[in-house]
Symmetry: C2
Subunit: 321 residues, 2 copies
Amino acid sequence: MQMTKIYTLEQIKNIVETMDFSTEIEQGFIAYSNGQVIVPPVGELIFEDPPGDTHIKYGYIKGDEYYVIKIASGFYQNVKINLPSSSGLMLVFSQKTGVLETILLDEGFLTNIRTAVAGEIVAKYMAPKEVSTIGVFGTGTMARMQVQILQSVTNCKRLIVWGRSESSLEAYKNDMEADGYEVQTTMESADVTEASNLILMTTPSSMPLIDASQIKKGTHITAIGSDTAEKQELDTKILHMADIVVADSLTQCQERGEVYKALLTSDLKLGKVIELGHAIKSGNRVRTSEDQVTVADLTGVAVQDVQIAKVVSAALSAVSE
Amino acid sequence: MQMTKIYTLEQIKNIVETMDFSTEIEQGFIAYSNGQVIVPPVGELIFEDPPGDTHIKYGYIKGDEYYVIKIASGFYQNVKINLPSSSGLMLVFSQKTGVLETILLDEGFLTNIRTAVAGEIVAKYMAPKEVSTIGVFGTGTMARMQVQILQSVTNCKRLIVWGRSESSLEAYKNDMEADGYEVQTTMESADVTEASNLILMTTPSSMPLIDASQIKKGTHITAIGSDTAEKQELDTKILHMADIVVADSLTQCQERGEVYKALLTSDLKLGKVIELGHAIKSGNRVRTSEDQVTVADLTGVAVQDVQIAKVVSAALSAVSE
């Protein structure tokens, strides 16, 4: 009989509060770029009525103790019936026996965390030394988590946030002010690019929100929102003008995300794009001058799920024994 | 917070004892052949040291209430450390919200059941009316389950079983005699084809175990063991000489199983192969004369997992409420 350990979202949230995942996820990206990680193509189910999608991301580091299968779904009309749009779970199996060791009923929470951590790693290696103001496109969960996790990288507490509705901007301002931030809101994207040199893109937009002409020298942009072939937040010319373009996965960015869009329009050659694990493996900053424009395109790689699921499982297991 | 219901193997075994799945799985095959079922390509992870594999089968019937993701692994060296080689689980999600409704920690048990049920359906529509003796290749779990489930189709209690080792043949004989069968064992495949007109292939062989010249008129063969591109239990000429060849999935059988091998050698044209759901949808027997040689090639289709997971979840939920 399997002795599978099962943990709820509440247990996971409690333990994650005290944890830092940046080291393990950095190591994951480096192992991935070194070819030590098996990541098969993403499994996908698409639903039409109501619209929804489910993705299966899975893989393992060769020679590691575990493999991980992550299932995450987005059903965006759930809000109408007072349910979160995201749900899902992570499954941790033994690489030696195939036995299911742990079920993390995280309901999409750990996917958000590992996504935020990727942004943290990118900022650590690519953001300007002096962040004037953090610019944020979007007002949702990732717009909050990204900012909060950046405290490990910058002590800047000034935010300028762009959104499409007054009410969501107001809610964001209230929440983040309560968290100690100074928050300016706007519905003009030029206000953000003018005031900020570290910009976080966190919307599900399918149209560019920033034009290349808006970008000032010394700006870093982390693009998180676009993770499909349809979504896009940046003018493709921004990737053309940027001094450095980093993507979390060279394979995935040819099929989805900002790099994909820029490759389509020929505003970008793939040879210019550096895979994140390669960019950071020396331990040196990727930005080599404070004048450079840098862009990181994050579409989410299964190795992030593998790493966070392993670490959270081990921590929960240690506490419950 | 999700209210996911979780059931153990013990709970699942208890309830399955009293259940019959043939109607739901028949309907699943018919829906599949009618194009009403979404079944993406099988997800796969392969391990080398120790050797093992994990498969993710998933899908849904359009317009149905649920979708199902099934994970099953085989680590064949587990026996050395007293663990079963198979493990896994089934996950049942709402098609309306993406919420994870039920986890069935079945450890591969329901995969065995749904595989046995496919054999039951095939026998119902294709076996000769008078079964003289049931012939069984293999002495493992499926060699037992297949025979037991056939009680709904034939009252024949005579078995002739082929195996590679005296000890496994002896164990099979003892177990099945305790279950009321009359069992003859052999290590000569001709003994089986001579004595039996309903033959079940349940081995993981990668070499043909029966030659076309052995097959008598009126024989039906259900080939269950080969579910990859490597495995093979039947001489490809058997599919050539057969009057009727049925496969559970025309898509899958072009990549794996007996049909795949026969297509490779040109002993079979795909146009001759009838998909199971098409073959049975009229409700009439597929065999139209007692002289015909018929073959069914089963590689396992996700719609079987979808159907069994739904029915078992509903039954467990009704009992526990």
